[in-house]
Amino acid sequence: MSAVENTSPQFSAERLDEIKALVARYPAARSALLPVLHMAQEDFGYLSMDVQKLVAETLDLHLMAVREVVTFYTMFREKPCGTYLLEVCTNAGCMLNGADDLVRHLCDKLDIKVGQTTPDGMFTVTEVECAGACAGAPVVQVNNVYHEKATAESMDALITQVRAGGDA
């Protein structure tokens, strides 16, 4: 251990090995940018400027090249969100099957607006574009796990379960 505490984010040794193996699969390291940002978001929760700098250094890219990508793609978050991110698809197939009512229900139930996080930091509700699972409309992604044919009741049950300390 070094005597000086380093407070800036660092990838673990395993992660760095994983990134090295990933980079080898592409003609240029830059191609690994999206997958490495996914890894960074998984490791650090969101992509703070320090994390974006870390990614830039790791792949030997300009910070601006990383910023361009982070700000273009909706799955990359520059701010923290709740422990449970509830992403409700409200596009055509889901809208025709009650998605708007479901969003209203979730916001009322959690007493937040779309895009907000509950004060206890547990839940964030957002609307997303077509999730590509329209046979299961309405679709809610909970931390990227698809919950299909979601209802007010099934979402209430999930919230109760999580609040009681269970998994989503």
Partner: protein, 426 residues
């Protein structure tokens, strides 16, 4: 289970093994015929034969554009001294489309086998599956299947003891509809924002890192094994002329049994909805049908008997697209739906072409006003002009897709729009 060698008896191709439990596991997939014909292809076929069979098959790209697959492959220059890349477009994001997801999560080895065959024909050493970022579970299934395929020497060095070697990597996107456009997909795979490129040059000549590149949809590549096993003529005899084969249709909206259904091309819309999808939730005829994903013009009740072929749907005024059929019954609020779609296109516009960036944003703001009861008669004219001035004036087709619902709504339901206008303006 095997697909009949008699084309008249074939009703499904890509979904032939879809219901088999654990078909994502290599041993189960192999018991059911996966990779059975691969050694024959690698040992006795060559590039010319494969591309000829693909041309004969009449297979057209299943991602939406419907470009003949064999022809696309034939455009790849040989002996350029550069590597050729094969990219599978699994960025399934067109609203209403969810077919590729089922192939990837239930029968990933079908896609992998198709990619090995395509890669062999094109002389590809490195192939990638670009999957939309939200499909994390599907990416995990694919990665497990690919690991099993490597372990069985179906991927990697000297596949099945032949001289052919190919690597396959799953690459997750991160939430951008426009990356389903093939040149935007390439930009994204190069680690950039997904902004479509000018064509030409076409990817076949200058694509991924300026090298020859073929981009094919999941369903397209998953059809290759059956075509090579049974022959191009066999495939051409299924379905209809100019619309050969079977097609996956993702049916959603106001039907009783939404889902993916594979049927021979030429099946009528009514047959699909009434006999496969359990009919409409309300009423006996649809109010409107979006036949090929949200970017395609709407069909009306009078088109209920249209055969599902590229030509018949075009004659009816729309496109087969990706086969994503969104059904609206009599309860649908078509103005609200259009408002929601206008938000989608404004949100997903990459912003590099002014007509699209400004047009989709403008349309969204006017639609919010109209659907919110604050519109005036003049807004209908504004919407029409804005939509007409986007289409055909941009690098990619996103703007045209954004115009389609607006123009359909104005054409077929002007009275419903007027009914929502501010009372003072009526």
């Amino acid at each position: 289970m095997a697909i009949s060698s008699d084309p008249k008896k074939v009703t499904r191709i890509c979904f032939d093994r879809i219901e088999i439990p654990n078909q994502n596991k290599l041993d189960v997939a192999r018991e059911n015929g996966a990779y059975k014909f691969l050694p024959t292809v690698l040992k006795t076929f060559d590039a010319d034969k494969i591309i000829d069979e693909m041309k004969t098959s009449g297979l057209r790209g299943r991602g939406g554009a419907g470009f003949p697959t064999g022809l696309k492959w034939s455009f790849v220059p040989r002996n350029t001294g550069k590597p050729t890349y094969l990219l599978c477009n699994a960025d399934e994001g067109e609203p209403g489309t969810f077919k590729d997801r089922d192939i990837m999560r239930f029968d990933p080895h079908l896609l992998i086998e198709g990619m090995i065959m395509a890669g062999f024909a094109l002389g590809v050493k490195d192939a990638y599956i670009y999957i939309r970022g939200e499909f994390l579970a599907e990416a995990n299934v694919l990665n497990e299947a690919i690991a099993e395929a490597y372990a069985a020497n179906l991927l990697g060095e000297k596949i099945l003891g032949t001289d052919y070697s190919m690597n396959l990597t799953v690459h997750r996107g991160a939430g951008a509809y426009v990356c389903g456009e093939e040149t935007a997909l390439i930009e994204s795979l190069e680690g950039r924002a997904g902004r479509p490129r000018f064509k030409p040059p076409f990817p076949a000549v200058e694509g991924f890192y300026q090298c020859p590149t073929v981009v094919n949809n999941v369903e397209t590549l998953s059809t290759v094994p059956a075509i090579l096993e049974h022959g191009g003529e066999w495939h051409a005899a299924i379905g209809r002329p100019n619309s050969a084969g079977c097609k996956l249709f993702s049916v959603s909206g106001h039907v009783n049994k939404p889902g993916n259904y594979e049927v021979p091309m030429g099946t009528t819309l009514r047959d699909l909805i009434e006999n496969h999808c359990g009919g409409l939730q309300h009423g006996t005829v649809p109010k409107a049908i979006i036949p090929g994903g949200s970017s395609t013009p709407w069909l009306m009740a009078e088109h209920y008997d249209v055969p599902l072929t590229y030509d018949d749907i075009m004659e009816a005024g729309s496109f087969l697209g990706s086969g994503a059929i969104i059904v609206m019954d009599e309860t649908a609020d078509v103005v609200a739906l259009t408002r929601r779609l206008s938000h989608f296109y404004a949100h997903e516009s990459c912003g590099q072409c002014t007509p699209c960036r400004e047009g989709t944003g403008w349309i969204e703001r006017v639609m919010n006003r109209v659907d919110g009861g604050q519109g005036c008669e003049g807004d209908m004219k504004v919407l029409e002009e804005a939509a007409e001035h986007m289409a055909g004036r941009t690098i990619c087709a996103l703007a045209e897709g954004g115009a389609a619902p607006i123009l359909s709504m104005l054409k077929h339901f002007p009275d419903e729009v007027r009914a929502k206008l501010k009372e003072s303006s009526q």
